[in-house]
Each structure stands twice: as C-alpha cells, then as structure tokens.
Symmetry: C2
Subunit: 109 residues, 2 copies
C-alpha cells in the first residue's frame, strides 16, 4: 500500500489534513515565518538564509503554493512570494474551531 484512503473521509478532513501537511516541515515553517516577518519574500533570499539548496527551496515553495497557502508574483528575474490571504484566514478559522472545541479534562481517562 502506501496511499492514503481519502475516499473514506470527509472533504473537510481531507482538506485540513492537506493544509497541515503542507505546513508540516521545518523548512516550510521557516519559509512562512520569513514571509510573515517582512510580509513579502524573494525566493533567492530564502536560499541565502536557510541552509538548503536552491532546488530544495523551490520545491518547498511549490508545495506551499499548491496547497494555496502562498502565492508567487514574478518581479523581473526574481519571484516574490507572500501569504494567500483567503486561505490563511480559512485555515486560521478552521484550526481555531478545531482547537477550541476541546472541553477540558472533565470525564477524561
């Protein structure tokens, strides 16, 4: 096997898992933190600042972009990445609902 059985889960469960998966790598967390800090981020800066090869950074950016979390705009030779606002707020709301639905440790085992 090796492939997730997406068909037995809800659309919501699959989407949430996909978004979390896109973020679930230290390099991609670092990329997002860097974008959040200066609101914008040239791809080449990430290659200089993180300790990964250019091809690897490009691949991580692609995953974040495919998940819809960031967007890239061509600026001459370089590419400027920033947060995709709608998806960001969607995920923020979904996670907030998810985490706040925890009722505390009563009746726990």
């Amino acid at each position: 096997m090796g492939l997730t059985k997406t068909e037995i889960f809800t659309e919501e469960q699959n989407q949430m898992a996909a978004l979390l998966k896109a973020m679930a790598h230290p390099a991609r967390i670092a990329i997002l933190q860097r974008i959040l800090k200066s609101n914008t981020c040239i791809c080449g800066d990430l290659v200089d600042e993180l300790g990964l090869a250019q091809a690897t950074i490009s691949q991580h950016l692609k995953e974040l972009k495919n998940a819809g979390i960031i967007q890239g705009t061509i600026e001459g030779v370089s590419v400027c990445y920033c947060i995709e606002p709608k998806m960001w707020k969607l995920l923020q709301n979904q996670l907030e609902g998810f985490f706040s639905s925890y009722k505390g440790e009563q009746n726990c085992c």
Copy 2:
C-alpha cells in the same frame, strides 16, 4: 537523501513541524474529532467507526501519542484515549501566535 535536515532549524520550528505532521492525516484528524466530540474514546470504537483495519488505527493512535497530543489509559481489556491537555494548549497557543502574526495584505506582491 530523504531525511529532513533538522539540525539547520530552530527547536521551535522542528517541534511545530512535528506536531503538525502528527495531525496531518485525515484518519488522525478524524480520530481527534471523535475524541473531541465525546471527550474520550475507546480504541475499538474507532476501528468500528472509521473504515480502516485495526492495525492501521493502532498505528495512527501511536503517532498521536508519540507526538504527545493524546494519552491512553488502560481500562481492563480496552484502552481509553483522550487529549493531552498541556500539549493541546501549547499547540493551540503556538498556532494562534503564528497565524495572528499575519499583518494583512499591505505591501504584498
């Protein structure tokens, strides 16, 4: 290759990625939702309710437990799982800080 270069990232980045990764599967989202709903959850119930084999459910539970997100208590023959409150709140706070640090779409590309 194939192994994440954890040594070039901060402790915080690695921990956040690890926690998100533990949640980044539809089955594990479903398991957490089930636990959140009734505050508690017997392993066997998950096997009945989700459409996955017992060995697979057990493996997913192990990953959530290893990440520290849930805890399991033996209750006779069966095992009762519930949220690990401290880790839950830690992750909730970390994510809240992370998502709310987004300053909006000004100066974006």
